[in-house]
Assembly symmetry: C2
Homo-oligomer: 367 residues x 2
Amino acid sequence: MKLSCTQEKLNQGLSKVSHVVKKDATLPILSNILFETKEGRLKLSATDLEIGVRCNILGKIEKEGTLTLPADIITSYVNSLPESRVNLETTDQILHLKCESFEANIKGLPSKEFPIIPEVKTEPLTKIPTDLFIPSLNQIIFAAAQEESRPEISGVSFNFKKNLLVLAATDSYRLAEKRVKLESEVKGGKSIIIPIRTAQELVRILSEEVGDVLVSVSENQILFHFNEVDMTSRLIEGQYPKYQEIIPHEFKTRVVLDTNLFLDTIKTVSLFSREAASDIKMELDPSKEEITISAETSQVGKSESKIKTKIEGEKNSINFNYRYVLEGLSVITSPQVIFEMTTDSAPAVLKPADSKDYIYIVMPIKQ
Amino acid sequence: MKLSCTQEKLNQGLSKVSHVVKKDATLPILSNILFETKEGRLKLSATDLEIGVRCNILGKIEKEGTLTLPADIITSYVNSLPESRVNLETTDQILHLKCESFEANIKGLPSKEFPIIPEVKTEPLTKIPTDLFIPSLNQIIFAAAQEESRPEISGVSFNFKKNLLVLAATDSYRLAEKRVKLESEVKGGKSIIIPIRTAQELVRILSEEVGDVLVSVSENQILFHFNEVDMTSRLIEGQYPKYQEIIPHEFKTRVVLDTNLFLDTIKTVSLFSREAASDIKMELDPSKEEITISAETSQVGKSESKIKTKIEGEKNSINFNYRYVLEGLSVITSPQVIFEMTTDSAPAVLKPADSKDYIYIVMPIKQ
């Protein structure tokens, strides 16, 4: 293999693929990135056997070839090189790299040991612009379960229904759902679960990119294609919980609040909540036109704050894990948020006042 | 105790004193901040028994009194309150705090249990403007020994000699010395050692302040006085090592380098150095007018870079722990740096090209 390319392109490509590489991989080859020349380009590939990321880089190929290189050293070394032309050449299993006054020999491993990243050859289901897709994912990912004891909720639900993609995530204490309008209809629909890490990686790789992401789904894999980047991931088997049943359709008490005021008040009051339970109390009094938010720990003391506002419906109160409420509020970008509840043992609802595309449900802590 | 003050002043005061409080203090009272009203002011005090910090806050005192309050909760709570008037009132050992819509009751401990912070009543030795003192401390602190097996080098040497304050720190692998000119002469001189944490805390508290720091020294305490803030610290007993003897006064090879180029080159090359030894090699060849910096690990590979430059003196080479060189270079603010060495087993010198006030010595790694 012999080629040259710009430091900028090589650096960008490495930063896109290197993040999926596991640092403590048991198989040494899984700590490596595959370098291949193909059709006049340098193709970089990395995988952790669940997710695979590939990125093509424009370069001047003088001699075809292939080698795998340790992700950590090649990524940090190229990142620290000056913005100039980089020359790459391999002899046996060593990469010789030159850039201005810098030279390095990096030991690699033969590419024939590198795992095959599955190909998804089906036609794209749909395309979604990154500036709609990535913020939407960000509004739900955090609600997914972190442990893998229940695999189906340790992922994000992608439900394609006609010209709608419904994204959802839950850890059974709270649930986030986002509806994304598609430009064209997905015939027959499709419902899949992608691992949380795949969704996080997608956000990381595409968060600063502008353009369309093509989404293709095969029997057990999904492919996200964006310009020179391909990301494939296994799908999580099983059925996503029928969460629609727990979304309340009625309420007994309802209030519209300034999102930032609500967020800041909870943050301040919650400093006094018990660390393990993280519980705060919210009391809504329509006759006084006042919400009281409070927290108490026997050792520390008590804090409360009142928000003056019109309240629809009945006098009511509910206890929450404040962290769940804060996480939901912090992804609601509209200036006003709607809070709805029925009883102190039923899930409460947060949603933006200016859009029907997003809903966040929080289970109460029983009093 | 009953008083009111602005959230801004109270927040600033708490942020100045709270940092010395140890989070895992064995004695509960040491996790607290002492609140006292004195001469129309609210006086905050905190100590870890080694360092004591006091700060006075202007306020409207309605009733004198005193109480100690848990540093973590009072500091983070006041920090999150709106910028408005804060009302404080105590009943028994509880502080009632009100600020706009926020109210809290915080449990305290009686102030009679709070340790006495030693007073330094001697006349100030000197005064130093913060914009000279703080950057000077920053140029040496990092070189002090982190472990306390040799107490005298786990501190920073303050040597007052006539109208000069010589600051020095070493961990026996490298040494930093900074000369600070004083406005007036310190009669008889004074040589003391202050704990590294005292120096760090001083930098933290005063790094954004502008004005003069008054320095007073008693038999075993030092006092730094700045506006409404007093910081006292115990001194470290013993004699600071006579480090002047190891500062080389001659050289066999000398070069003047662009500071940033030198720093960036070492950073990039050092990615290939062995993790435990952190060693890089520097070869200086006057006839080729070239410095070669290289690093090698058998597993990873090798990297090198050349810097073209005029070199005074003999052909020479030396091995370093690159971390020590980087730390020294990163506090040298002048665009050009002088590097001097004699042999591969003698300490080498880094100093700014535009000032004689700073010197940094690095011991080599034996080849």
